[in-house]
Amino acid sequence: MKKPVLGLLLGAVLGAFDGLTALATPEVASQIVGIVIGSTLKGLIVGALVGWYAYRVQSLSKGLLVGLVVAAFFAFLVAAMPQPDGRHYWIEIMLPGSIVGLIVGYATQKFGQGRGIVAR
């Protein structure tokens, strides 16, 4: 599996899972479908970007950094949108979202097929 595809799939799965964790927050549980769809889309985009970077550059530290920055940026965009009650869940969205980016960054550097070589 090519690294961008791996990033895309992993980003989507982790994004969906991350969205589902909103079930633990009663205030937003009613919007769970929208949250899961949005979180999955965010994961797809982050995964594709980080996977594409891993395909181009073989460096664990740089891959982790790119995963962190890209995921934090998209998590920031999501967190910047106020909830119906007017609150912003900065930490609740940005912290786990950034870690998901790190996970995708790590996985795409360690696994998947790069340019001509297979990373194990």
């Binding site: 964790t21 633990a24 927050t25 609740e92 912290l95 786990p96 870690i99 998901v100 790190l102 996970i103 790590y106 996985a107 360690k110 194990r120």
Partner: protein
């Protein structure tokens, strides 16, 4: 009558034993070492203006067995062009008919002296893998070293690792045929490198010599004999002593050192040191493949893992990933409870 001092006697003996080279191209500078087969001198190549090493047979006369071995060693070295093998520049006859050959002068120390500076497993394995790589190259060329030991490995000033002393190397018949030396079967050209041993001859060094060599079957010692010696070398790098004959003693000794090698590395060493050649790695290349898997954190052929061991190895290998996932889950649980 005036007695000569010991120093003077020693110096006179040294001068008297220096080889008389027919040409004036090489000027002998100083003795470097003396072994059972030959003596090595540092010399100056006047033509190219560089220092070289000259190995001269200790034989009393040409056509002596030692002289034959020196010729064989020079020819084996000339055949093996590899960064881990000292290149031969020239060869010839002394006035007294003995053989000599000229090679690169390697500056550094033997592994026996260098090993103390190799504190960590990774550093030891880097040196060891270079030795194994050189031996694997020789095996691929149909040559078996048969006398691998710490004093036959040189570590240069810049970290280069060289395998020395190919004097008792065995040239397999296959290699002779492939190189065109033998026209039919085991035929051999008179000038081609010879085996140098006959049945019942013991070749090698105790503690590093495969059981088949120790039992006097040196003429049949193939690549697995070198694999045994490589295992003994690994064992020595961890314990500082030669490998015991009993495999259970090998396990006990490896378990007693601090830090002890991992289970998988111990299994690799034990596999190399198996009594039966068939139970060892077939060649140095096969050993290197297993070592590469070990270094990557994968499973090795020498050790059958339990499920728990496999899981533990996976956790260690991907610990960054595991920590990230754990951090994520802990954070999510914390957010849920702190609400």
């Amino acid at each position: 009558m005036t007695w000569l001092s010991n120093d003077l006697v020693e110096r006179l003996r040294d001068v008297a034993s220096r080889p008389e080279l027919a040409s004036d191209r090489y000027v002998i500078l100083r003795p470097i070492g003396r072994g059972g087969m030959g003596s090595v001198y540092a010399a100056r190549d006047e033509q190219l203006g560089r220092e070289v090493a000259i190995k001269v047979s200790n034989a009393a006369a040409a056509a002596d067995d030692l002289d034959q071995r020196l010729r064989q060693e020079a020819r084996v070295l000339a055949r093996l062009e590899h960064p881990g093998i000292v290149p031969v520049h020239d060869a010839g006859l002394l006035d007294d008919g003995r053989w000599f050959y000229v090679m690169k002068l390697v500056r550094g120390e033997t592994l026996a002296d260098h090993a103390a500076s190799l504190e960590h497993e990774a550093a030891r394995l880097v040196v060891f893998e270079r030795v194994a790589e050189t031996v694997a190259f020789a095996h691929a060329a149909g040559i078996v070293h048969r006398d691998l030991k710490p004093s036959n490995v040189m570590v240069g000033q810049f970290g280069e690792v060289l395998v020395l002393d190919w004097g008792v190397a065995r040239v397999l018949a296959r290699a002779n045929r492939e190189s065109g030396a033998g026209a039919r079967g085991h035929d051999r050209h008179p000038d081609d490198p010879i085996d140098g041993t006959s049945g019942g001859t013991r070749m090698g060094t105790a503690g590093f010599m495969a059981p088949e060599q120790a039992h006097g079957d040196s003429s049949n010692a193939g690549p697995p004999a070198d694999v045994y010696a490589l295992g003994a070398l690994l064992f020595w790098m961890w314990t500082g002593s030669a490998a015991p004959a009993d495999l259970s003693d090998v396990s006990r000794s490896l378990g007693a050192v601090s830090p002890a090698p991992s289970k998988r590395l111990s299994a690799i060493i034990r596999k190399c040191l198996s009594h039966a050649p068939a139970d060892r790695y077939a060649s140095a290349a096969e050993l290197m493949e297993d070592l590469a898997r070990y270094r990557q954190g994968s499973s090795v052929s020498a050790h059958r893992e339990t499920t728990i061991e496999r899981a533990g190895r996976w956790l260690v290998r991907y610990q960054t990933f595991v920590w990230l996932v754990l951090a994520y889950l802990v954070m999510r649980v914390a957010f849920a409870f702190l609400r």
